[in-house]
């Protein structure tokens, strides 16, 4: 709950403009298709970028995010010390963030920032990439995004600034505002990484080499890492509008699936596009399972020339008839097209929250379109349940052999071996939404609502379970290398968290009256 910099409050735009504009303008080259940098609307900052300016971090916020940052590993993320790696030092700062008086250094941010980055580098195995990064033409504006190996390099800026940390006292409106700010910030970060990815992919497509491939892979890992946090912010336009998804049936537009369609099976669908090249007619008719980050992962990381489609299928026949060179060329061409598509969808997502693109920020904060503000908050809360179904049941329960039915066609990020990293980021996203947007959970979150409603003990228990789950995730080996005992242990650690969600926080007994995501809400009595 402690906070240091007010978010861009709708009530006081002037207090937000400066940092916001600075953030905007620093987004630079990566978001060149966006509008101008000058704006009176603070929320423009997450969508527009046309000039380069260093981030004007708000006072102590730089300490929160950057303390201990030695990174350079993750160029796009290190500007604010945002943890993106897989190992984190220090305590989680839970208690301090609840005290309401925590200082930046006591919130756990420095510890996290410091170890994250390096951890990510080690895990990704991309430490060599940065050395070559500077040689990439046209990338200078990306704030050193290629300098991934530079231990001690100044953290590059992604144009999104520090995480917005609300200093407002708790109210339901303030919680919606804080969550909306946090979502926008994460969307912005992903858009920046999608831009970096697109740039690197373009370079690789133009002149493929082992070096450019490795850089593109690094960018994919960064984008995927950020996206895995975004997965926890599925409400509003990002969310599916389909009832079956149990997300935002009011304002959901399904943008998420356009960017990331896991757990849908993708490989054969991607190969169908390689065979038919139908995407050249436009992505309007391309299935979500054929595009997005999962398609990019396959195209960047899978080196075989075989196909997963049925042997007698048209795709298999085409694959069988293509020369190796032709197939490689097709893969490169589709790689470029998909990365551009991902970037465009990321931009569209950012844009939907901006005033010019529908102003979903105001819509959400005012709970417009929802039956009432409780429905808006309930839908927001449903985003937290990602850890229950997707993480516990699918990502862990299936490989652990605990989940009987398998709606999931394949493990996550299997070609890049990034499944564990994704879970780590999922849990970080959970903290950002549940506790607060700061790196250590500073700011407003559902825990503050619980405290205000007299159920702070539940919030504290959830955070303790989250701490344990994060600790387990950060020390967990790659999913495909984990032993059954390790998987079982990790599963139960996450289950302890999800038990609290389903038995206490959500459902008919929820002290906050947060219903489970019903496909349809009937009468009660």
């Amino acid at each position: 709950m402690s906070s240091r910099r007010s978010p861009r409050s709708a009530r006081d735009p002037s207090s937000l403009r400066t940092p916001g504009a600075a953030l905007t303008c620093a987004a630079v080259v990566t978001l060149t298709s966006f509008g101008g940098c000058t704006t009176d609307n603070p929320r423009e900052v997450y969508r527009s970028a046309s000039a380069v300016r260093p981030p004007a971090s708000g006072g102590a916020s730089s300490t929160v995010g950057r303390g201990g940052g030695t990174d350079g590993t993750n160029g796009a993320s290190a500007g604010n010390g945002e943890p993106t790696g897989s190992t984190r030092g220090g305590s989680n700062g839970t208690s301090s963030s609840h005290g309401g008086t925590s200082s930046p250094s006591s919130g756990g941010g420095p510890n996290r920032g410091g170890s994250d980055a390096s951890g990510h580098a080690a895990k990704g195995g991309n430490t060599a990439a940065g050395a070559a990064g500077g040689a990439i033409p046209g990338s200078a504006g990306e704030g050193g995004e290629l300098g991934v190996a530079g231990e001690g390099n100044p953290p590059p800026d992604d144009g999104c600034g520090d995480p917005p940390i609300s200093t407002e006292p708790f109210s339901k409106r303030a919680l919606r505002s804080a969550a909306a700010e946090c979502a926008m910030w994460h969307y912005c970060r992903f858009a920046a990484r999608a831009s970096t990815l697109d740039t690197r992919v373009s370079i690789h497509v133009a002149a493929p080499s082992a070096e450019t491939l490795e850089l593109a892979r690094t960018a994919w890992r960064d984008a995927m890492s950020t996206w895995s946090t975004v997965e926890l912010f599925q409400f509003g336009p990002l969310a599916s509008s389909a009832d079956s998804a149990g997300r935002d049936g009011v304002h959901g537009e399904g943008i998420r699936d356009l960017v990331y369609s896991w757990p849908l099976d993708t490989r054969c669908r991607v190969e169908e596009q390689l065979a038919s090249q139908a995407y050249k007619q436009g992505f309007g008719g391309v299935l979500v399972s054929s595009r997005g980050l999962t398609a990019l992962e396959y195209l960047l990381f899978y080196e075989g020339n075989d196909t997963a489609c049925n042997p007698g299928s048209a795709t298999a026949n085409v694959f069988g008839s293509l020369e190796t060179g032709e197939l490689a060329a097709r893969k490169l061409a589709y790689l470029g097209a998909v990365s551009r598509d991902v970037l465009e969808n990321a931009r569209h997502l950012v844009d939907r929250w901006a005033p010019a693109g529908g102003d979903f920020f105001e819509t959400f904060v005012a709970a417009q379109g929802y039956e009432d503000e409780q429905q808006a908050l309930t839908i927001l809360g449903w985003a937290l349940l990602y850890v229950e179904r997707e993480v516990k049941d699918w990502k862990l329960g299936i490989p652990a052999g605990f989940t009987l039915s398998q709606p999931v066609n394949g493990p996550e990020a299997v070609f890049a071996h990034a499944g564990t990293d994704a879970i780590v980021e999922n849990l970080r996203g959970f903290r950002r939404l549940f506790q607060g947007c700061g790196p250590a959970g500073e700011g407003l979150g559902f825990d503050d609502w619980l405290t205000a409603a007299g159920h702070g003990e539940l919030g504290a228990d959830i955070l303790r379970a989250l701490d344990a789950a994060e600790a387990a995730a950060e020390s967990f080996p790659p999913l495909d290398a984990a032993t059954p005992a390790e998987l079982e242990s990790f599963y139960f650690t996450v289950k302890a968290l999800t038990n609290l969600l389903k038995s206490d926080l959500f459902g008919a007994g929820s002290p906050l009256n947060l219903k489970l995501p019903m496909t349809v809400q009937g009468d009660t009595d």
Binding site: G401, T403, L404, A508, G509, V520, G522, T524
Partner: protein, 479 residues
């Protein structure tokens, strides 16, 4: 027959104006039609009955199976038409009977769709199907009169009266709902901790004008006590002539407020309009008489007898009258026994659910939980964690998680499913935690019990672990 029983019989069979019953038929028929329309319009037929792959059965009614989707849609359309036909009094007896049977069938399809007010709707539909509610102001009566006029023009039409017993039977039914709902509130959570009302009021603090009020510390207690006092006192207040004019507006205000605060569908409207049975039987004529001052063209027969007079001679009691009175008394006895059966279980009904259904415990619990079935394959002791989601819709899972008989039913389904999949014999245990009225969740079902070997029945309290002993926490509704 003793003198007392003879007097009682005479009083119960004494004729009263049938206008109240006709009005009830019209109003209630329209409400039922709207209710059926809501199922159709809101997609509830598919969500509640077609989409689930597994249906929870009422004990003794496991043989009730859902029709295929298109037929179910057709059934609801038919029920809609039958409700309108019932309201109009067209082919009344057949319409009312078919409607009551159809509604009962629908309600028996899946326990998780049980609601007290659906149950009330079915009971009232059943009563209507047996009552002479089409004697006046109905298409049937109009057709009969025309036919009679053509065939025997000099013969006088039967008096538009019904036995007083019908009036008291309907009053009893409505009174039972209020009274037991009120008595059920006489417990600590409701009266001394304002739970679960404090939780629910916390969800509507954005309500114009009233929302801010709900954040006052005393507000949940005020609403809890008002609800308790209203439910326990409203029946006598409605019955007594001198307080009825004050009590009915109270009924309207109370249910208007609950309608505003909670998603309880048609229930407030049903309770307001059915409370009209507490007025003198000629109330509809009085209303129409008053309306005739404005609408001068109202047919004379609608307003005649506004003071209860000029109803004509009472018909002789039917030779089945005594039998009907006995059946009515039995019905009343059952309606009293069902809400009280929880006493036989000696447990906390809000926790163990033994005696919960059909007992008018309305809006008394915020209860939910998380359930995971732990399946152990006997041949190699391999363990599977089975989420109810694999078999249930979210609504079903939510309802099942706190009701032991439903947990047992799903355990049986899982056991059978594993056998069908070739896993052979399995043990089915459950990890379940339930929270009640804001308390932290505690284990609900004994995890040591192999539920696959437990028979579903009327007494599963032995499976249920002790309820939480702590008082519910104080919830502060916040803006």
């Amino acid at each position: 027959m003793t003198r007392t029983s003879a007097e009682l019989r005479a009083r119960l069979l004494a004729p009263v104006d049938a206008a109240w019953l006709a009005a009830f038929r019209v109003i209630y028929g329209i409400l039922l039609a709207v209710s059926m329309g809501r199922f159709i319009a809101y997609g509830w037929i598919d969500s509640f009955f077609v989409a689930p792959r597994f249906h929870f059965k009422y004990w003794g009614f496991a043989w009730v199976e859902p029709l295929p989707g298109p037929l179910l849609h057709g059934l609801f359309a038919l029920l809609f038409v039958l409700a309108l036909s019932l309201a109009a009094g067209l082919l009344y007896r057949a319409s009312a009977l078919l409607f009551a049977l159809g509604l009962a069938y629908v309600e028996l399809l899946d326990v998780t769709t049980y609601l007290n007010h659906y149950y009330l709707a079915a009971l009232l539909a059943g009563l209507l199907a047996t009552a002479p509610a089409a004697r006046v102001w109905s298409v049937d009566a109009w057709l009969r009169r025309r036919r009679q006029h053509a065939e025997r023009p000099l013969e006088r039409a039967p008096a538009p009266v019904v036995a007083r017993a019908w009036l008291w039977l309907f009053r009893f039914q409505i009174g039972v709902v209020y009274t037991f709902a009120g008595l059920a509130k006489a417990q600590g959570d409701w009266l001394f901790h304002a739970q679960p009302l404090a939780i629910w009021l916390g969800a509507v603090t954005d309500l114009p004008l009233l929302g801010g009020l709900f954040t006052e510390p005393w507000a949940p207690f005020l609403f809890s006590w008002c609800g308790f006092l209203f439910d326990t006192s409203i029946v006598p207040l409605l019955l007594w002539d001198r307080t009825r004019s004050f009590a009915f507006p109270l009924v309207v205000a109370f249910h208007a407020l609950t309608s505003l605060l909670f998603p309880i569908g048609m229930f407030p409207l049903i309770m307001v309009l059915t409370a009209l049975v507490f007025f003198p039987p000629s109330w509809p004529r009085r209303v129409l008489h008053a309306a005739s001052a404005t609408f001068r063209r109202l047919p004379r027969e609608l307003v005649s007898g506004a003071n209860g007079s000029a109803l004509g001679p009472a018909p002789a009691p039917s030779r089945f009258a005594t039998t009907a009175l006995v059946l009515g008394a039995l019905y009343c006895a059952v309606q009293l026994a069902l809400p009280l059966r929880f006493l036989a279980y000696r447990g906390n009904v809000l926790w163990d659910e033994q005696g919960m259904r059909f007992s008018w415990r309305v809006m008394l619990r915020a209860k939910g939980g998380d359930t995971t079935f732990v399946v152990r394959r006997e041949r190699d002791q391999r363990v599977f964690f089975v989420s109810p989601r694999s078999y249930l819709t979210v609504l079903q899972e939510s309802e099942m998680s706190s009701q032991p008989d439903l947990i047992v039913q799903l355990a049986h389904r899982i056991r059978d499913d594993f056998a069908e999949r070739g896993h052979g014999p399995v043990e089915v245990h459950v990890e379940s935690r339930v929270s009640l009225n804001g308390r932290r969740s505690v284990p609900f079902i004994d995890p040591a019990v192999d539920l696959g070997r437990i028979d579903d029945g009327l007494s599963l309290a032995g499976l249920v672990l002790p309820p939480p002993t702590s008082a519910p926490p104080r919830t502060h509704p916040v803006l």
